[in-house]
Amino acid sequence: MNHGPYDWGRPSDDTYGAYNHQIAAANNSQFPKMNTQQPIVTGTSVIAVKYQDGIVLAADNLGSYGSLARFSDIERLLPVGDSTIVGISGDISDLQQIERILDDLQVQDSYDMEKPNLKPEHVHEYLSRVFYNRRSKMDPLWNSTIVAGLSSTNELVLKYADLLGVTYSSPAIATGFGAHLAIPLLRRKVETEEDASKLTEEEAVELVRNCMKVLFYRDARSIDKYSLAVISQSRKKIDIHKGLRCEDMKWEFAKHIRGYGAPQL
């Protein structure tokens, strides 16, 4: 037996000869099987907040190739069924894989049921299990996602799931940089479920749009063009507004901006 710390417990090469790696390479290729080791083209934050009558969700349209702003029309808010939106950040090719997986799920659902029955709680459970199974195979789908929608009992569902299979629920959720930049702004208005029940739709949209502006200011891998989804309980409807722009931005020399840097008279 090999007693070196790096190969402890392996048969020693002196006795058994070097291990033949071809044996384990079931794909019979010259190289071992390769899994996703890092994201390539990426999408940045997704943010979401609950309000008294639903959920507002937003994600920008940029696909970054490292620091290169490579694609500027990537849609990262995916409708699934008629009462769910899935917002996805992270690797874009894995996003497209998830898109196909969820599409298959919808087709399957439409075969089984006479009317659409796929609800956000089901989508979230399914998606988080896909993530967890892939991470357990050490072949992760490199994404963080937010699932939002109206449940089978017409209640609000707002949940998170990521590449590790970690899940949680909260009245305000953000992925990636948004967790650092947008969450403090969102929690200032919506710390608890009770706060959410007092926030109007107009206030929620304004809040999320302000967060998207702050993210564009401070997140280098972002763009000022984004999609925003409004889920409404009373209207039983989801509206996705596409191609929105960050508005009322100030790009003057910092010295001349009020409220920026040292206080001015």
Binding site: G4, P5, Y6, N35, T36, Q37, Q38, S128, Y132, R135, S136, M138, P140, Y160, L164, G165, V166, T167, Y168, S169, S170, I173, A179, H180, I183, E191, T192
Partner: protein
């Protein structure tokens, strides 16, 4: 071409070229802490409701202690995805147990079963500290605690998770009267063990968690205590500091 470096150490004088690789890490720490205490005719299992990754608070209310039926309480604290997976598997198998045997699962059997669930992944472990609580066949309170690979033990009390090292010595002293003497013996006899009452246990748990909240960054927001007695399971919630 891959980046290589010559690695040698005290243990291995042979210089080998090992490529430096960045590997995907399948684990993370989602913080939180849990605590189980057994009384004479009751048992409690408590946990804070904060969910974290790194320095970020993901959620202020994400329960991690569950009542799974048969008057059994379960929690698996550590890596949340593994914890959820373990509890889901347990719930599913409990359902099959009912179909197959038409009787309740005893806490003794539940404990042995969880050992098998955990040890089954001995070489890719569930990164969790598991605690279950309930009543034994004689109706006495029971707490069983497990390490990540399934070693387990029945105990009067056990803290698990991030602040376990802060809470456990306090419990040793207050539940098992460790380092306490009988005041009448003039320091010659140990204080005799006795069962604590439910309200005493609740206030111990609340003190333990509010103290852990002060000293541990991953503990806070809320405390959820599940109490099992012969009358069933009851839940109590107390807010903790949110900072």
């Amino acid at each position: 071409m891959s980046v290589t470096s010559a690695v040698s150490s005290d243990y291995n004088s042979g210089v080998s070229n090992v490529p430096i690789e960045h590997q995907f890490n399948p684990y993370s720490d989602n913080g939180g802490t849990v605590l189980g205490i057994a009384g004479e005719d009751f048992a409690i299992l408590a946990g804070d409701t904060r969910h974290t990754t790194g320095y970020s608070i993901n959620s202020r209310y994400e329960p991690k202690v569950f009542s799974v039926g048969d008057e059994l309480l379960i929690t698996a604290n550590g890596f949340a995805a593994d914890g959820d997976a373990l509890v889901k598997r347990f719930r599913n198998q409990l359902k099959w147990y009912h179909f197959d045997h038409k009787k309740n699962l005893t806490i003794k059997s539940a404990a042995r079963f969880i050992q098998h669930l955990l040890y089954g992944k001995r070489f890719f472990p569930y990164y969790v500290h598991t605690i279950i609580a309930g009543l034994d066949e004689e109706g006495k309170g029971a707490v069983y605690s497990f390490d990540p690979v399934g070693s387990y033990e029945r105990e009067q009390c056990r803290a698990g998770g991030g602040a376990a090292s802060l809470i456990m010595p306090f419990l040793d002293n207050q539940v098992n009267f460790k380092n306490q003497m009988d005041p009448d013996s003039n320091g010659t006899a140990k204080k005799e063990l006795k069962y604590l009452k439910l309200d005493e246990v609740i206030s111990l748990v609340r003190d333990a968690f509010s103290s852990a909240t002060e000293r541990h960054i991953n503990v806070g927001d809320g405390l959820e205590i599940l109490i099992v007695t012969k009358d069933g399971v009851r839940t109590e919630y107390y807010p903790l500091k949110k900072d």
